[in-house]
């Protein structure tokens, strides 16, 4: 084939009719839907259908066997007057402190120190090793961590032995058996479990911050606190939102550590909504009531997630000056 013929074949004989912009957009949209289909089907099967099922069951009375009996909003009315339900939500507020507020603040500080101080003064490997050490509890199965902490905090456990060893034996206590100390003890464990996650995310975020910003600030005489406030905090705001949102959802639906450490006791001092729902489902065989608890919890998580995402979007718009 001659070169001229090849070129001729490559050239269209005539300009084909171009689709109108509207048609092109419709065609592109249809293609998008095709890509979304597998996810949508999975969503319906794994999340949508169980959600609708739970919502339906929350309007019934059912022991798990036989036919559910329709009771309308009775379960929700009962929830409003259930002291244990409200106690479980009060405890959730404390779990938010232990799993969101403290780890985020402490994680931010630790990440900044590791990145900006340890990483500079020592080898980066030192900072990486410390980061891994903080992250270790996140790798452990939470039930295993719960059982080990249960051993540590038991009356004849390591913590009380440590108090004895340092001459503070008078403070020996049944930490998980006393309603006054059980929740703080569980909170301490949760801080330990949770702290590594923000540290890792924030350190990754700090690595994308332009080092020249820090250098320029140093040249201008900014100390570490100034750099932390003026550069670190604003630069990693998107990650802060992500950490706060994911930790908040984790705190709202926390179950494993409570199950392993205290089973919601003593006297509901550490009960949380997800454990209360489990107990109602499987121990009291009140599937309808348990579904109502789960539905309320889901609703709260969805609202919190929407509020967080809206706040993040607003913050990003503000940053871009829109």
């Amino acid at each position: 084939m001659a070169v001229s013929e090849t070129l001729a074949a490559a050239q269209p004989a005539a300009t084909p009719p171009q689709p109108s912009p509207g048609r092109r957009r419709r065609g592109r949209n249809a293609a998008y839907w095709l890509y979304l289909l597998p996810g949508a089907v999975l969503f319906i099967l794994v999340i949508g259908a169980p959600l609708v099922g739970t919502l339906y069951l929350s309007l019934t009375k059912w022991s798990g066997i036989g036919d559910p009996r329709w009771v309308g909003l009775d379960n929700y009315q009962q929830l409003l007057h259930d002291d244990v339900f409200w106690a479980s939500f009060r405890n959730t507020v404390w779990m938010l402190v232990a799993m969101v507020v403290v780890p985020t603040l402490l994680g931010l500080l630790l990440a900044a120190v590791l990145f900006d101080v340890i990483g500079r003064r020592f080898k980066p490997r030192t900072a990486a090793a410390l980061r891994a050490a903080f992250y270790l509890p996140q790798v452990l199965p939470v039930v295993v961590a719960g059982i080990v902490w249960g051993w540590i905090l038991r009356p004849d456990g390591a913590f009380n032995s440590l108090l004895d060893a340092v001459g503070l034996g008078a403070l020996r206590h049944d930490w998980l058996g006393d309603p006054d100390t059980a929740l703080p003890a569980v909170m301490a464990v949760m801080i330990w479990v949770q702290i590594g996650y923000p540290v890792v995310v924030f350190m990754a975020a700090l690595q994308r911050v332009d080092p020249e910003l820090y250098e320029a600030a140093e040249v201008d005489g900014a100390n570490w606190v100034h750099r932390f406030r003026a550069i670190t905090l604003p630069q990693i705001r998107p990650e802060t939102f992500v950490v706060a949102l994911t930790c908040t959802i984790a705190a709202l639906k926390v179950f494993g550590p409570i199950f392993a450490l205290t089973r919601g006791g003593p006297e509901n001092a550490t009960n949380v909504p997800s454990y209360f729902a489990y107990y109602t489902f499987f121990k009291k065989l009140q599937v309808g009531y348990g579904s109502a608890i789960s539905t309320v919890l889901t609703l709260i998580i969805v609202v919190v997630a929407v509020v967080f995402i809206w706040m993040q979007a607003r913050s990003e718009r503000r940053d871009r000056g829109i």
Partner: protein
């Protein structure tokens, strides 16, 4: 038109499939005498007394039913506990299964028509004659699934009861005699306290606290109280004896140091290992510990019945149930019958279990024999009072929470009684509608 034809064809196919499935499953012709497979599930470990006994029962069954295949599957307790309803409501379930006794388990399934009525077999095969009235309580359920009366829906072939385990070496070393009355018991505990030893092992985070409370309450109770509390015969006053005595005495024992104030977070396993390790001279707990102590404990130990009580916490063991969907009911009944034979009952007894119909003289180990003789004593005097958490679903956690408060001193006996009375009343109302 073509679409319509396809729709009709699909509907026809679906209808055919449904009919075929229905023919395979559900329909109970009532005649399964030619069944060639017996699907059997239970959750006892292979080396436990029941596991040993039932392995032998399977061998006997096979030899007596040549050509019948026994498909045995060992399940986890929790697996059956949480999924039994779904399992036996399907065509994939077993023909015979070990299942938990009580209103919230066997009672619930029976009330939904998922278990076979065994009454005719119990009469025909003489099972009723082998089980004392208090053992039969967990086998029979009313239409509402309340135990104690009505049709037979399960058959127990072993028993369990709460007793006092004591460390003989510690008793001898501290000059303490084995108590036979409650006065002896408190004197013994005072002696241990005076020597800086906490006399009673405890585990507030699980069942032991509730069982000690119940044992104390039972010392002031009669059968009428047990019937009222467990079978809802009459309303129960939590602010009166025997429950009031039980809670007050429990609190008193904590204040006197008989029970450690820092045991609220401990689990039953902690209590058991403390006893095995010789850290506590006594525990009040169930016969299910017996085999383990026999295997693991180095110190000399023995048991005595909770002093002064004619009623003891205890009951039949779990039940053999036959799902309504079973395709081999006759074979299942034959198997139950074998497990109640003297050979199997003695085997259970000689392996540290508590058979329901054993001849104690056939038990070779003196300690095993004593365990069974004590059970027979309680059973014969109709002394099994079941367990405090049985009356309503979810009551176990209520009792645990209540008695944790009593152990760590955060609640008074009156407050604890209030906190356990309300869920009891609500649960009873849920079941009986009253």
């Amino acid at each position: 038109m073509q679409r319509f034809r396809r729709l009709v064809a699909a509907l026809a196919l679906a209808a055919t499939a449904t009919t075929t499935v229905a023919a395979c499953g559900g329909g109970d012709s009532g005649d399964d005498s030619d069944a060639k497979v017996l699907k059997l599930w239970h959750y006892e470990s292979e080396t436990s007394a029941m596991g040993v006994g039932w392995n032998r029962a399977i061998e006997i069954f096979k030899s007596e039913h040549p050509g019948v295949e026994v498909r045995f599957e060992r399940k986890a307790f929790e697996q059956i506990q949480q999924n039994a309803g779904m399992i036996i409501n399907s065509s994939e379930g077993p023909d015979i299964m070990e299942y938990n006794k009580g209103n919230a388990t066997a009672g619930l399934l029976s009330s939904q028509g998922l278990l076979s009525d065994l009454s005719a077999e119990a009469d025909k095969r003489g099972w009723a004659g082998k089980l004392s009235p208090s053992l039969q309580t967990t086998a029979r359920y009313s239409d509402k699934g309340v135990m104690g009366s009505g049709k037979w829906f399960g058959v127990p072939n072993y028993g369990e009861y709460v007793t006092v385990y004591y460390n003989k070496d510690l008793f001898e070393r501290n000059g303490v005699k084995v108590p036979t009355t409650m006065a002896d018991m408190t004197a013994a505990m005072d002696t241990f306290v005076s020597k800086g030893i906490t006399p009673l092992g405890m585990a507030g985070a699980e069942y032991p606290a509730g069982q000690l409370f119940y044992q104390l309450a039972l010392s002031k109770a009669d059968r009428q109280f047990v019937d009222n509390y467990q079978l809802y015969k009459n309303p129960v006053d939590f602010k009166a004896d025997p429950l009031k005595y039980g809670a007050a005495t429990f609190a008193d024992w904590v204040s006197k140091g008989y029970v450690a104030k820092d045991s609220a977070s401990l689990k039953a396993e902690d209590m058991g290992t403390a006893f095995i390790g010789g850290k506590v001279p006594m525990i009040v707990s169930g016969s299910w510990w017996y085999g383990r102590f026999k295997t693991e404990m180095k110190a000399n130990w023995d048991t005595f019945l909770f002093p002064g009580n004619t009623l003891q916490a205890g009951s039949s063991g779990n039940l053999w149930v036959v799902p309504e969907n079973s395709k081999a009911k006759s074979l299942a009944y034959d198997f139950i019958d074998i497990t109640l034979r003297p050979e199997i009952q003695d085997l259970i007894g000689n392996n540290g279990g508590v058979p329901v119909a054993a001849d104690a003289s056939k038990i070779t180990d003196p300690k095993d024999r004593k365990l069974i003789e004590d059970f027979n004593t309680v059973s014969k005097q109709d002394g099994l009072a079941f367990y405090p958490d049985w009356p309503v679903p979810g009551y176990y956690d209520v009792l645990v929470g209540g008695f944790q408060g009593l152990i760590n001193g955060s609640k008074s006996p009156d407050q604890v009684l209030d906190s356990i009375a309300k869920p009891y009343a609500e649960g009873v109302k849920e079941i009986t509608g009253k």
